[in-house]
Symmetry: C2
Subunit: 200 residues, 2 copies
């Protein structure tokens, strides 16, 4: 059984990671979206292992102690985290997993999953990124400047990724990411079985 | 100016390299097909630099002496060869070049152009390869066996390529090769200029 692909999509805030990932998942339903674990109560209709892994605070602390989280945070008294072992379970079953994560979290994943596919989304221009942040309407000139500088620092981190995709239009960006996935599945290292079948 | 891609397509004889490459070129006219040099006379309508580079025997011998050929052969008194410096000219102008070549020639190119994209076409099965060779109708049972063994040895060489594509149907194979080209153009190492434009 060939190990699945971990496809990690990251990028500076405001580059549209969320929209792009949603489109990929709707186009490629065979790809699993990495689910977070949380200690909050499930809302009506939420299913364990679908929206979240719902676990107790004790379990969450054990997972922290066992270094099972790629990242975690406390929000209003509840814990949220990205559990690596749940991703590994799927990969080892040959399933492909999509993970959308911020730039800091991504650096952590690179260390733990060196055979992952690391894709960095870029804004078409700084001007465009400025507009996108502005259009949220919540920034003062001062915080806008601060956010832009933070974005530049994040973009610098993008140089460490294998692939960069400019998010000019969502459709074009998604098309490129699908091409990257398709190409990665053609890597010789991921097709040893084909050679075995052909020439033993 | 970002250097162009050398896309090399190879595979055991009988796997359909020619058909696949023709389709890629008709779908992606912006890609240049690597042209051979020859010492034979141009036929009516043939243009230097289009069908072939038409050169004299003296030039051909100079190019051999200057190690300019990836491979060359003499056929009925005329010389034919694949000139690397002509490929390099296009790459350095940022143009992408497609090269269809046999497995032996490809190993030679790998040494000379380490940043090329090496794609190996595989038959869907040995049975299918046998049928394709048989259908040419020119083989005796003995030569068929010999050709199959040669094909197996060639397929073994495929393990040295970056990518493998099973030529199940031409359309599917072409789709995968286009995805590989698209993905390679997204490699971070090929997009340094984008970072410069964004963050200087």
């Amino acid at each position: 059984m060939e190990r699945g692909l971990l496809i990690l999509v990251s990028g500076a805030s405001g580059t549209g990671k969320g929209t792009v990932c949603k489109k990929i998942l709707s186009d490629m339903p065979e790809i699993f979206y990495s689910i977070s674990a949380t200690t909050r109560q499930p809302r009506p209709g939420e299913v364990d292992g679908v929206e979240y892994f719902f676990i107790t605070k004790e379990e969450f602390k054990t997972w922290i102690a066992e270094d099972k989280f790629l990242e975690y945070a406390e929000v209003y008294g509840n814990f949220y985290g990205t559990p690596l072992h749940k991703i590994e379970e799927r990969l080892s079953r040959g399933e492909n997993v999509l993970l959308e994560i911020d730039t800091q979290g991504a650096l952590n994943v690179m260390k733990k999953v060196p055979d992952g596919i690391y894709i960095f989304l870029l804004p078409p221009s700084l001007e465009e990124l400025k507009n996108r942040i502005k259009n949220r309407g919540t920034e003062t000139p001062e915080t806008l400047e601060r956010r832009l500088n933070a974005a530049k620092a994040e973009i610098e981190i993008g140089k460490k990724y294998q692939y960069v995709v400019v998010n000019d239009t969502v459709d074009e960006a998604v098309k490129k990411i699908k091409a990257i996935i398709s190409a990665e599945l053609c890597k010789t290292s991921r097709n040893e079985k084909i050679f075995e079948d052909l020439i033993g």
